[in-house]
């Protein structure tokens, strides 16, 4: 069956440290993978997109890697802040050319001051 798994339901880290979230998938051949942030009572908000031919993408304190051999993406937040506390979702297309996205279960990150 097709699965998108994120490493843990919840992750607590100390302010200033780097948070690393994992997204693993099976039975998908995505052309790209995306990461979203979701705050309570709100819809997900897009953060980053990485394509299958890209190993790494950065945006300010965010970094995403994509390993199509391992079928895994890592999402890093450096110098984490309490305002980074939210649920982070990975999402990917089922196959090249598909526009609809399928989401992982999400990881709830709490940054402790």
């Amino acid at each position: 069956s097709q699965k998108i798994e994120q490493n843990s339901e919840a992750l607590n880290i100390q302010e200033g440290k780097t948070a690393t979230l994992t997204c693993n998938y099976t039975n998908y051949s995505p052309a790209y993978l995306q990461w979203y942030r979701q705050d309570p009572g709100r819809g997900p908000v897009f953060l980053l997109l990485i394509r299958e031919n890209e190993k790494e993408k950065r945006k300010e304190r965010l970094k995403v890697t994509f390993d199509t051999t391992l079928k895994q993406s890592l999402f890093h937040i450096t110098a984490s802040q309490p305002a980074d506390s939210a649920t982070y979702l990975c999402a990917l297309s089922r196959e090249t050319g598909a526009n609809n996205l399928f989401f992982g279960t999400g990881t709830r990150l709490t940054v402790i001051p």
């Binding site: 998108i4 994120q6 339901e9 052309a31 790209y32 995306q34 009572g41 709100r42 819809g43 997900p44 908000v45 897009f46 997109l49 394509r51 979702l89 999402a91 297309s93 050319g97 526009n99 609809n100 996205l101 399928f102 989401f103 992982g104 279960t105 999400g106």
Partner: protein, 114 residues
């Protein structure tokens, strides 16, 4: 509009009632998606439109769920004879429809079936 708008924000229904959830996408966005999100879970894909054409409805859980987008803009998700397991947040998202692009989400409709 400035963003994706969904209404109502909250809906309480008695089991067996029909409900209709509305999504107003960003103006000019060709693609529209519906997702169902249970508490503590990620969004689950329901269905996808390109303009008025429903290209994928494989995620609709049963024939009680029906979605339409007759003029390629506003979309309605209808659930007939609601059941308790339908209780969830229903999210709508839109995009330009050019492929490999981010989705813009509304805040969702929280449906509670009693």
């Amino acid at each position: 509009g400035a963003g994706v708008s969904q209404s109502p924000r909250y809906k309480v229904a008695k089991r067996g009632q029909d409900v209709a959830l509305r999504c107003d996408p960003i103006s000019g966005h060709v693609s529209l998606f519906w997702y169902q999100q249970a508490l503590g879970q990620g969004p689950e894909f329901l269905t996808y439109f390109q303009n008025e054409a429903q290209l994928d409805k494989s995620g609709l859980p049963s024939d009680r769920f029906f979605a339409e987008r007759p003029e390629g803009s506003v979309s309605t998700l209808k659930i007939q004879r609601t059941q308790q397991e339908d209780s969830a947040v229903y999210l709508c998202a839109s995009s330009l429809g050019q492929g490999e692009e981010k989705l813009f989400f509304g805040s969702g409709t929280q449906l509670s079936v009693l």
